[in-house]
Assembly symmetry: C5
Homo-oligomer: 278 residues x 5
């Protein structure tokens, strides 16, 4: 019998960077009015350009959030076609005089990801029935064809617009690799079943939460990043609490820090610097 | 047989923000008397307004505490109807010139929560007897009705006034998700039993400690926040030590850092800045 | 049969605060002689007053230690009757101009504690024989009587003078709550046996080490604080190493950071600021 | 029967230092043009010299990367024949006036390493057949001969040029030493089998990723460092995700932080300081 | 049968302090030549005196190392007869104006230690055969006699000179106290066997590595400190990797951070401050 890979096929889309900054309000307050005006004018020009970053048919947007709590004051969320583009967006902020008043407190690098558990099972099965051995050129061609087809079909989800909801909840997470409970030792069929049940919960919240999953294995310190967008912040709590009881989360999920922000337009920068929420 | 959800029904109330600040006393000492007066006058006006935040029939208060130890000097505790209101209260402090003398050391975001283990068991049972399948529109209507009724009945506990006790003890906590001992794999009946026993201990302390539980799944880095208010600080130690032996705490509780403060009125700000306790 | 509580009776005494400071020697060196003199004069007056804090028959002392290593330069140890008194002592330092030259690096809040394993077993047994149910008014009266009697008898140990030894070793600790080895699931008889054996080792060192145990559940980030006082620092190492092999430490003890200081009088402050050990 | 060592033979090559710096752009922006020019001129001379470090037939190169995210802005990667040479390269940067504008955020010290699992098995077997006892002079001579021969044959991999790919991914890792799953208790034959399977995955990515493994046991806080070089950053994610399912990674790998950078020539320094990507 | 202690006899020698400093090169570069000369002159006098600290027949030395990587730039290693002497050496540096240019990043306090597993087994056995009960005055006299005799015999190893090798590798370590694998629950005979095997590996490296073990239970945050001295840094990696497979390390060792430095004379201070390696 032909061996079947344990690794599900995965689609990659936008590269994603979360940046968290503390605003140096003491230093900003100390500035004279002319300097503030000069700095803001340059910043608004640059940030507004980043906000509307459409390129090659993909949204390539940047969004701004006023953060709650001490983890930061301003969260910037970039989606770009490549990490190089992402880094250019990051540097476009770093080169502003405004950055003298922004102290980086955290960041997170990832790439929008769709894990194709169901397609993978079908594809691997079909290729195995044809007698193709994994990772031979013929087998690779078969999976590449699936990835290409699905990437095209999923393009709006792989290169998404940033939802316009009032609240953002971001957190990174891992799958547990404990001595006894180890996600990466679970069979693909079992993982597929658990991910399906997990997805069912999300679907019940589909009308009040938009979710974007990005993968960060090889890019940052956790395996995945989760962005939730909603107009009622309590649904973050309800959704994640409910999910905590499904098998894949209860047993295999490890969570990092949680970051909450309220969406603001780049144009509200001046208000945020002094401590007003538009 | 109809499947019954593992997730207890939960009521949400006030959004809660704890802010911890180190006072930059060296910089404050270096200020001339006029500047101190100007800064204090503006601060007192704003902080007093935050203190008495009543809105739409809910207290929406802010309270101030002088913190013991190096984790901070001033703890500010806000209760508001929404996270947006909470963030506006946070920014009302950030925009003060006084904030040049306050360095954020920590914060914690959560929402007052009442977990309805007993009602959930009854409601889920009753709905199951009617043959309703969880998460169908009829079932959702049944639980929504319970939540609405209980929220109205519990309103003073969901949107509480801040107790006026001398001491505050705040700490965050998690339920353990170990490889063998995992709260989220325990049956609801077992969890209900353990939470009931846990509540019995709290009840014995009801005359000397006021407790407010807030949920922070999806909001901050632990699952719950606990605020204890008492006039004799030793009861914090006695209560939590006693609870550590009940099953739900002994086996399933993980604790974060503990923060202890002494209640002060906003009007005492001037004293606290120089290092006096009124 | 009447159920017996798992929680041992506990006596509380002095509230205890450890403060660790880094001395800003660069800034101190940069001061002119007049400023140094002014700052020292005010500081010596205040610190000497804290040192001799006798109040209501209890010592209520503060002691100063020159710390070894990078964790801090000056350790201040306060014993007071209440946390409010402790906080006033803390603020008495914070309000000094001297504090511009002291950077807090750590602190620890606790309360002197005597765990009455042996009395608890006897008392609980005797009350059970009388058929009293735990936490009924009669039972509470019975334990309250024991606590009152023992507190009076143990008063010098509950409100201790600070031993005058040359060296202090302070560390916080927890009892393990692992998935299999969990102190809070061990029967009281077993815990009593282990604590007794543990105490036997301490007794062998009684002539060269003074030990003060304080509880910090609900007050700070570990469950207990341990202060050891000795004139030969090597006995700290010998004692703790030997204890590491007794069952309660080997299996159930978790240790935090260790802090070592050499006792200095408040009057030696000037020497310590420039880097001399009197 | 002769006992066979559990330790595989290992070849060491270049000493490797990763340095991560935050660029103090605020201070740089505040400099006058003349100072910038003076500092850059001296820096470019020194960094270009480090870049092309050929010595005694080995490349001995240094490469520069613009880092994505808050972990640093500039990553410097040095390969040198000895740690002393490496430290001289590190100090050559530290002594530049440019270093006033570079704040070290992290570093990692290691040495290029090739673990000879297959050769070791053969060599240990052959020496055992000759009846040689491990660590006797004859046995040592036998393994020394293998190491010398392989070191010569592998010289280009032991003292590698730095690949010129656009992206670098660096992370440190450990082998797990859990209570039940402990790499160092696994038999050499089993380890050899798992490492072989692990290597097969890497081989499938050979045309799009260059991998350099360095050992850091005794040098830094993890056991190994991994450098991946590629022109398409998504292959880092794909490769490491795929490997996470092979036995040696799923069960025995622990990962540290991940660092991502884009290759820049030393000559691009001026651009990077102001926040441009050439 | 007489019970035998689980605790091996241990000899203590020099108190040891490792200090790690970051050099504030930016501030140093900004100094005028006269100030540099004044500061260096005073520092060299003091540091050279510390370097050659012979007292009461013991070397009592201090050595200086230029550190590789971001953990610090200057490592200072003191051996003294007592912690008080050690603290005086520490303060002798703190009181220098040079210390304005040295930022402490880490330190480690310990005492040279020789664990007498083999002697303990013999001694405990012999005392048991005489029917002596542990910790009785007679038994104590018996072990005290062994300790006194061995301390005299081992004096050069207990109060060692600092080896003059080019490289130093320092790291702290613990013995594991896991739920199943717990060093402190292993019988003394088993521990003695494992420590003996462990020592055999060290012996094979005796001609190229000098090792000094110090105990830090009760003094600092790990149980032991290990200093390795060698002229070829790769032997640190080889030795520690090889040891990782022996039972005591594979199963029971936990390692802290690793610190690598190159030996420099105090006289090289001026060079190190500007970033040269003599």
């Amino acid at each position: 019998m032909v061996d079947i890979p344990a690794v599900p096929l995965t689609l990659e889309g936008s590269a994603v960077l979360h940046q968290m900054f503390r605003i140096r309000r003491t230093a900003w307050r100390a500035l004279d009015a002319d300097s503030k005006e000069r700095i803001l004018e340059a910043a608004l020009l640059a940030l507004t350009r980043l906000e509307h970053g459409a390129k090659e048919g993909h949204p390539n947007q940047t969004a701004f959030f006023s953060q709650v709590g001490h983890k930061g004051d301003l969260m910037v969320l970039h989606f770009r076609d490549t990490i190089e583009d992402l880094h250019r967006a990051e540097l476009a902020i770093a080169q502003l005089e405004l950055s003298d008043y922004l102290e980086p407190t955290h960041s997170y690098l990832s790439a929008v990801e769709l894990g194709l558990y169901e397609s993978s099972a079908k594809t691997y099965g079909a290729l195995a029935e044809k007698g193709l051995v994994p990772y031979t050129p013929e087998w690779n061609a078969g999976t590449a064809e699936v990835i290409a087809r699905q990437s095209a079909a999923m393009s709006p989800r792989l290169f998404p617009e940033i939802p316009s909801s009032q609240y953002l909840c971001f957190y990174p997470m891992d799958r547990k690799r404990g001595e006894n409970k180890n996600w990466y030792e679970v069979s693909m069929a079992e993982r597929q079943r658990m991910m399906h049940e997990h997805g069912m919960i999300g679907r019940r919240y589909a009308d009040c939460v938009r979710q974007i999953i990005s993968g960060s294995i090889g890019f940052d310190d956790w395996e995945w990043g989760v962005d939730l967008f909603a107009d009622d912040a309590n649904v973050f709590k309800k959704l994640i609490y409910e999910m905590r009881f499904d098998e894949v989360s209860a047993v295999y999920a490890l969570f990092g820090s949680f970051y909450i922000g309220l969406r603001i337009p780049a144009a509200a920068l001046q208000e945020i610097l002094v401590g007003n929420l538009p």
